[in-house]
């Protein structure tokens, strides 16, 4: 119920079909067949109608990043583009709320649609979609210009948004003088410029090389902390989805097959298709200390009452560690202790745990909610890498 109220964007039973043959009644016939349970291929062959999306239900909560995932042709971009009616659903509703009332973007009149596009929903494109004959400044101000804002007012907003994406020095450059990463920053600034609360991002980083891609993902997360937009993000990269998504939706052949938090997707894939996605992810940035560690209560007890942590022994109250016969007091704050032992938060990623373990030569201690709760040693790390780890924070 709370989700219902919070949702800024909601898809309800959305079907998106494309008529390739331009035959009268083909769409209606295709819908009937779709309801009768025929597959995409059968409908495509019989009626020359492409089923882009079928029966999609999805709510995007205010301020969250919701990622649509799937292989190419799975309908993820098609669904995203229904959110600002670049693709118009044949059936179903695309509701956009302002906390008080709903509007169905799939059926509203053209004036309302344009107003929504100018003020509520902005979009970032895979191929950037920048106008090559304009300067960076004029590209960023494009949305405001369409709104009819005076150039003098526009200038200030544009300067502010360029600063946001770190391109203030490039305002008068032309788009082709910029690298791909910078061009997409212009695309981001253009989307931010209209102060729309909903952001549609159609594989925005897919055209960039991996290093730049990761950098822009970090920047987006950073900006999101401040801006708190509602973001619908399309990706075909599971690592990207797990990294930036607060919710992930997996699509296949036009249908949504699973929606959930990254943990849900990774831990409880509903079928082999989703599991296959997860199998190819990179565990280092995704798995966190909480799922790698062995909890103290699971450690075997030594004859003297201590817990056996391999190279270290843990006092039962977890306040003292015995390293090479020497007692080291440890407090549950993330820090280096005595230059060798270290305490990390439960959300720290596997990659960083491995680095710390390498430097200290000793197990890494994990703290959660002001208590030391477990440790990560070589065996735990190897086990996590083998894919037996549990996901998410404890």
């Amino acid at each position: 119920m709370s989700e219902e109220v919070n949702a800024a964007l909601e898809f309800r039973d959305v079907d998106i079909l494309f008529d390739r043959g331009n035959r009268r009644g083909a769409i209606e016939a295709a819908l009937a067949r779709l309801d009768a349970g025929e597959t995409r291929e059968e409908i495509g062959r019989a009626l020359k109608v492409t089923v882009g999306v079928a029966g999609a239900n999805l709510a995007v909560a205010r301020g969250e990043i919701s990622v649509l995932m799937g292989l190419s042709g799975s309908g993820k971009s098609t669904l995203l583009r229904a959110a600002n009616r670049l693709n118009r659903p044949v059936r179903g509703e695309v509701r956009i709320g302002n906390g008080l009332a709903w509007l169905d973007i799939a059926r509203c009149d053209d004036d309302t649609l344009r107003t929504l596009r100018k003020t509520r929903i902005a979009m970032v494109f895979q191929q950037f979609g920048l106008l090559p004959w304009r300067t960076v400044r004029d590209n960023v101000g494009f949305g405001l210009e369409l709104r009819g804002m005076a150039p003098s007012l526009r200038r200030d907003v544009v300067a502010e948004k360029l600063e946001l994406v770190g391109l203030s020095n490039w305002a008068d450059a032309h788009v082709h003088e910029l690298s791909g990463g910078m061009q997409q920053r212009v695309g981001l600034a253009r989307a931010f410029a209209t102060d729309a609360d909903i952001l549609l991002m159609d594989e925005p980083f897919s055209a960039l090389d991996p290093l730049i891609r990761r950098k822009l993902q970090d920047e987006l997360l950073d900006l999101q902390k401040r801006l708190k937009k509602t973001i619908l993000f399309v990706s075909h990269d599971i690592d990207e989805a797990l990294k930036i998504g607060s919710r992930i939706t997996i699509m296949r052949e036009g249908r949504i097959i699973q929606t959930g938090t990254p943990d849900d997707i990774a831990l409880r894939p509903v079928d082999d298709y989703v599991a296959e996605f997860i199998r190819h992810m990179n565990p280092l940035p995704t798995i966190v200390a909480a799922s790698v560690m062995r909890r103290f209560e699971d450690l075997p007890r030594l004859p003297d009452g201590m817990l056996d942590g391999g190279r270290i022994a843990v006092a039962p109250d977890a306040a003292t560690m015995w390293v090479a016969g020497r007692a080291v007091p440890v407090r549950p704050h993330s820090a280096w202790v005595e230059g060798a032992l270290c305490v990390v938060p439960a959300r720290l990623s596997l990659g960083e745990i491995i680095a710390l373990r390498q430097r200290s030569g000793l197990p890494v201690l994990v703290e959660a909610e002001g208590r030391l709760v477990g440790l990560c040693d070589d065996a735990d790390i190897l086990q996590a890498l083998c894919g037996k780890a549990r996901f998410g924070a404890g």
Partner: protein, 300 residues
């Protein structure tokens, strides 16, 4: 009519008096020429006032411009044209070309003819662009219109110019105007086609970017399609000028003034020297106009 009399006699003396199929076909001539003649006749009868008005207005404007250009001292105009070329392209080589080219024309004694040709080209080009660009845009947005227009554009460009020179002569009389009308008919398909191609080739992603930010159809046209198609439209302009220039000799045949006149005169009197002089001047004018108007390289 067109049938060989001896041939018929020969056949009639023959045993069988059967007509050969091709003979039958030839005897039942479809009156293409007659119909066109009748159409022109009807148009002339009912539109006489209209065509006279056009003749007067266009003739007044074109001849007026020629007079105006001739009133300006030639050297002053050379300086102005050179400055204009610098302002447009910022290229020293081009400025030198324009200055030396115009001085060469003065030197050869074809200044007056050049001015007359220039005003003819200017008017026909303005007219062609005024029709061609909007029509090209309409064609790009409506594929059906483009398909309907296609045969007419082909016809306008391939029908020998002399053929439609005859009706224009009847409708508009001798002088600058029929020359200009023929020039326009010949040149206007270029801007139409180039504009259509330019608009149709605007990447879908740019148009969607416009739509996604709430652009109206008109905003998409003015802020996305036209700027994106501008190089093509400019290429259409250059083509239009070149095509107009290629018509100067033919325009001279129906009494339009300009550089075509000395060429025709040279042809009639078999004067090699005068022919080449005026020919070179036309080429020079073409090169100057082309270099000044052609689209800038996109690799700038």
């Amino acid at each position: 009519m067109g049938i060989d009399v001896r041939d018929i006699e020969h056949r009639e003396t023959g045993a069988a008096r059967i007509m050969a199929p091709e003979q039958w076909i030839a005897e039942h001539k479809i009156p293409v020429g007659a119909v066109m003649a009748a159409v022109v006749d009807v148009v002339r009868k009912h539109g006489l006032g209209f065509f006279d008005a056009i003749t007067d207005i266009v003739g007044f404007c074109a001849d007026g411009l020629t007079m105006l250009l001739l009133d300006i001292p030639p050297l002053l105009l050379v300086v102005a044209a050179t400055a204009g070329a610098w302002f447009l392209r910022r290229s020293p080589a081009l400025v030198a070309l324009v200055a030396l080219g115009l001085l060469f024309i003065i030197n050869q004694g074809y200044w007056n003819e050049t001015m007359a040709t220039l005003s003819l080209i200017l008017f026909s080009t303005i007219f062609c662009m005024a029709i061609g660009v909007p029509l090209g845009i309409a064609c790009a947005h409506r594929p059906r219109l483009a398909r309907a227009l296609q045969p007419f554009l082909d016809l306008m460009q391939t029908l020998p110019t002399f053929v439609y020179l005859i009706p224009t002569l009847i409708l508009f009389g001798l002088g600058t105007v029929p020359g200009m009308i023929s020039t326009i008919i010949f040149a206007v398909p270029a801007p139409i086609r180039m504009t259509q191609m330019g608009i149709a080739r605007v990447p879908r992603s740019l148009i969607e970017a416009g739509e996604a930010f709430g652009a109206t159809g008109r905003q998409i046209l003015w802020k996305i399609e036209l700027p994106a198609a501008l190089p093509m439209i400019q290429a259409g302009l250059t083509q239009c000028i070149m095509l107009s220039l290629s018509m100067v000799v033919i325009a001279a045949l129906v009494g339009a003034g300009g550089l075509g006149v000395p060429v025709v005169r040279a042809l009639n009197t078999v004067q090699v020297d005068a022919g080449f002089e005026s020919g070179f001047v036309i080429v020079l004018l073409a090169i100057m106009l082309d270099r000044v108007c052609r689209p800038k390289d996109s690799a700038s």
